[in-house]
Structures are given as structure tokens and as C-alpha cells.
Subunit: 311 residues, 2 copies
């Protein structure tokens, strides 16, 4: 099974699907990025993973749907509506479907299963929780949204401010009372191997750990937990993981990731570029595996998947 954020996780899962066709694969996905906008429930990480596995992801943007159209957003812009979070027409259908089902009383995990089935996806995707869990970010600097010290929603930070503002703190609103979605804890207990995808440790994996019971279940399986570092040569391949780590007091390197994950991760897979740091990783009490981790093609994703499975 796999613990997932968005783009990096989606690529990693594509690799697993190629290497393990037809096999049972469960993926637990972050929902801290979820938001309500225009009254619609948007689940960016679930959708990124779903679109990627359905082969309909937009590889240019890294988000949204390929061959997307923008009729609704264009009209919304004419109305001077909130159009900072770009929702394509095909993408909107997902949000309409999800929101309608949630309003009718379905759980997010039930809706996720329905969407996977409709999209022809074999991987069993589940949100980490069906309850509301929202990542909130306290900004360390003044921004277009307000003075330093302001707490904003994750997408305000990530999209609206294009993660260009330093962060002082992150919290996961609702996490204390969130219950793991059905099957999450039993999957964590039963899985042969638990793969932590190369996702942002702070805001993608962090929310998963914040759901009561998850960290404990992972710690109990530590020897079978294998993480792929999202930090390569001191930098995030995409997004603000490196800056967030530094801003919140962790070294932005594979060693920093190893230190952060050590209580519950037995093995860390690092990129060839970080081969020289493998002893430092192991000094954190984490076994280190070195390979190519940059998934610039499906083949490279499949190669990484093979290494992770053999590790």
C-alpha cells in the first residue's frame, strides 16, 4: 500500500501499476488540501492521483485534466468571480459529482470509490479520513492576503500566493477528531509493504500522520515502511517542500527527511544525486537505498517502483 500526496505520488502509483498489473494496491491519500470553493468540494490530491491513473492527467501543468476546456472559468472571469483557483470544465464535472453525492449523504471514501470505478481505475484509493481535515498555514511574512502572522487556508498559500511567502507554522484543523476512513487502519496493519510516496513531508504526508491511529499503526510496521525522498540534492522537484522543511526547522535534504521520518520509516530511498549522503541517512537509524528517483517518464517510474518493491 502507499501513502500519497498529489503529483509525486500519482507518478509513483503509475509505476506500481506498470510493475504489478492486476494486483491489489491500496493508496491512502491526503485530504488536507481539500477546500470548498463556489460551494463545491474540491479534493486536489485525490483528483491528481485519479486523473493520472486514468491516463487523463495534464502533463504540462501537473494538475487538472488533459485536453481541458475553460468555458466556465472564462465566463466566471467575465462575472468578476473568484477565478484564482482554475477549474477546467472536465475537472468541474468531478467536483459537481463529488459535491452532489456528499450532499446526498455519501462519504468521501464512497464517492472516491465511485469515481475510481467510473474512471476505470483498479487501485483502491481512499482519503485518509472521511471527516473534515484542513491544512492551515501561518505566514511568516506580509502578503497580498494580509500581515505577517496571518493564518490562511492551504490553497490560499499554495495557489493564491503561489507558495511564495515564508511560513511560520502549519496545523491540521480537525485532525484531532478525524477518524481514519474505513479500511485505512486494517490496510496499514495487513499490507505487505507500506510505501511513502515522494510527497511533501509537511503538507502531504503530515496530514495523514495527524489522523489519530495512523502514526501508531505506521510505527508498528516500521520495518516494512519504505519512503521515497521528495528532496533531491537539497531541493524539491516541485512545490515548496524544501522551503517548508527549512522554515519549520528541518534540514532540506535527504538527511532531514530521514530524521523527520525515522520514528516510523525503516528505509529511505534517495536519488543517485544524494548517494554521498547515504551514510548520514543511515546515521539517523534509517536504512538507505540509492537509485534514480526522478520520474521523468513512465519507464523511470516503473524502475523506481521495482527498486522500492525489491528493497
Amino acid at each position: 500500500m502507499a501513502l500519497c500526496g498529489g503529483v509525486g505520488a500519482a507518478r509513483m502509483l503509475s509505476g506500481f501499476v506498470r510493475v504489478l498489473p492486476g494486483q491489489d494496491l491500496t493508496a491512502i491519500v491526503n485530504v488536507g488540501d481539500d477546500m470548498e470553493l463556489h460551494g463545491l468540494h474540491i479534493s486536489p490530491d485525490l483528483d491528481t492521483v485519479t486523473y493520472t491513473l486514468a491516463g487523463m492527467d495534464n502533463q504540462e501543468t501537473g494538475w487538472g485534466v488533459a485536453r481541458e476546456t475553460w468555458a466556465v472559468m472564462d465566463e466566471l472571469a467575465r462575472l468578476h468571480g473568484e477565478d484564482w483557483f482554475r477549474l477546467g470544465d472536465r475537472d468541474l464535472a468531478t467536483h459537481l459529482y463529488r459535491t452532489g453525492r456528499l450532499r446526498a449523504g455519501a462519504t468521501l471514501s464512497a464517492v472516491t470509490s465511485e469515481l475510481c470505478e467510473r474512471r476505470g481505475i483498479d487501485v483502491r484509493l481512499s482519503p485518509v479520513t472521511d471527516d473534515e481535515l484542513r491544512t492551515r498555514v501561518t505566514l511568516a511574512q506580509a502578503s497580498a492576503l494580509g500581515p505577517a502572522g496571518l493564518e490562511v487556508g492551504f490553497q490560499d498559500y499554495f495557489v493564491r500566493l503561489q507558495h511564495g511567502v515564508a511560513v511560520r507554522g502549519v496545523r491540521f484543523e480537525g485532525a484531532e477528531s478525524a477518524r481514519p476512513a474505513p479500511g485505512v487502519l486494517t490496510s496499514l496493519a495487513a499490507a505487505g509493504r507500506i510505501v511513502v510516496c515522494p510527497s511533501n513531508p509537511v503538507v502531504s504526508i503530515g496530514p495523514l500522520l495527524a489522523v489519530p491511529g495512523v502514526l501508531k499503526a505506521l510505527t508498528a510496521r516500521r520495518e516494512d515502511v519504505i519512503a521515497v525522498s521528495p528532496i533531491v540534492a537539497g531541493a524539491a522537484l516541485k512545490g515548496p517542500a524544501d522551503r517548508l522543511l527549512r522554515e519549520l526547522g528541518t534540514e532540506a535534504s535527504v538527511v532531514g527527511v530521514a530524521r523527520l521520518y525515522a520514528p516510523w520509516v525503516g528505509t529511505l530511498v534517495v536519488d543517485d544525486a544524494d548517494a554521498g549522503l547515504s551514510e548520514d541517512v543511515e546515521a539517523e537509524g534509517v536504512r538507505c537505498v540509492v537509485t534514480g528517483t526522478v520520474m521523468t517518464s513512465p519507464e523511470r517510474a516503473a524502475n523506481l517502483a521495482r527498486v522500492v518493491l525489491d528493497a
Copy 2:
């Protein structure tokens, strides 16, 4: 000022705009047809009037927007989502805008003013109430939705069942506690003339009368209230007004309309086709004016507007 449902009212208002350019015109619009779908707040009558006055109405369908595209609905159909209520892409932008603003705490009347301003509409449109008011229909026959006696939402009856099922009763849920939107009662008191557009008496005008204070305000202005009959030669030009009148015990004729409206309408404008019934209308205590009421062109709408203003 005008009391409005959807299509018939929209045409009537277009006529007034041509005849009275630049003059203050207030239109109070039915919200009993409103619904939540996919988490979005949809106000069909407000939108029909807005689109028509903005010159962007779809004259072929009688609803929605001209030069519409259907990317979201097409994708939603692929997901086996609820697509019985067709929402075009441009139309959806309106619903996203409205829902986002309502969720942010704006009133429906405030949002309506914003949308009118963005669409360049001079007429002051207002929902009859900012509170929730929903027309519910009790079916007299078994239907695809269930057995005879089932109460359904208005759009279930109107769109889903294509108003093809006999009706036993209509009620306006929430009406008792609905407050008139800001300005509604003062407009009714101050208007030089109050025009009841040729809208469905039961399900378009009925909800307006059900809001506490409105009927009393109209009754006080009875001599200045002039209605245009939506029934021509015993039939509705569009929609189920004739059947609804009959099913609920009123004659589907200009005489039936006169009888229904007599307590608060001083003058009824009927079509030339019903000239022979003008004495019967007046026998109901309502002054009768005969003219061409079928607005098949903007010119005919303007002619009707002139007659109504001169009456």
C-alpha cells in the same frame, strides 16, 4: 414595477425596457423554482430574466444561454452523474458565482444585484425573498419517481417528469417564515403601477403571494395592479399553467385567471383570441383590456408593454 416568473416575464420585461429606456424598473422574481444541485444554488427564474435582459438568452430552448457549450455536462454524464437538469458551461458560471457569494454570507438579493451589474442590466431585479422558499408539488398519479401522492420538488415535477404528471397539490415550503427581500414591500407601496407578468399563476406568481406581507400590499394597491393573462384561448403558451389551474380547481381560461386574481388585481389584459370573454372577465369584478399578448417578437413585446402602460 413587475411581478415575475421566468420566460413570459422575461419577454414582458424586455418590452418594458424598449418602451421605457433608462427608466427605473423594479422586478420582483419568483424563487420557488430554486434548487440545490451538485451543491450549487440554482435560481432558474432569476437567471431566465437576467439572461433575457442581457440579450444572452437561448431563444431556441427558452432556457439557458445562447451559444452555450456542454463540456461539464458531457463529462458528468461520463461519470454517470445527475444530468437530468442540464446546466451549460456559461450558465454554470452563474451558479458558481452565486453559490460562492451565498456561502460567503451574501444575500440572494445582493448577489442578484451583482450579477445584474456584471451583465449590464438596468432593471432592478430582486428575488421576492432572501429566505428559503421552495415550491413542492404533490403528484396525483404514479410516476417514475414513485406512487401517486408523492410530494416532489418543483424541478422534479417540471424538468424530471417534464410536467407530464397530474398534480393534486402545491405548497410553498418555508413561505410562512420567509421575509420579503429588502425593498419589496416599499416598492409595492410606491410603484406607480404594478404589472403581473404573464407567468404561471400557480407556481410562478403563487410563491410571491405566499411571502407574508406581499398579498396585503398588493391588495392595498389593487386599482394599480394590472395582470397579463398567461392563458390564451384556454391554454398556456408554454408550460403546465393550464393543467395546473384545472388540476387545482380553477378554470383554465382568462375567466379562471380573473377569478383567481380578482382579490388583488384591478385589470386583466387578455389576448385578442379571448375578446369574446371580456364580459365574463368583468363579471369577476376585474376590468378587462383586450390586445395581442403573444410576444413572438421584441416588437410585439413592446406593443404589449405600451398597452399595459396605457391601460
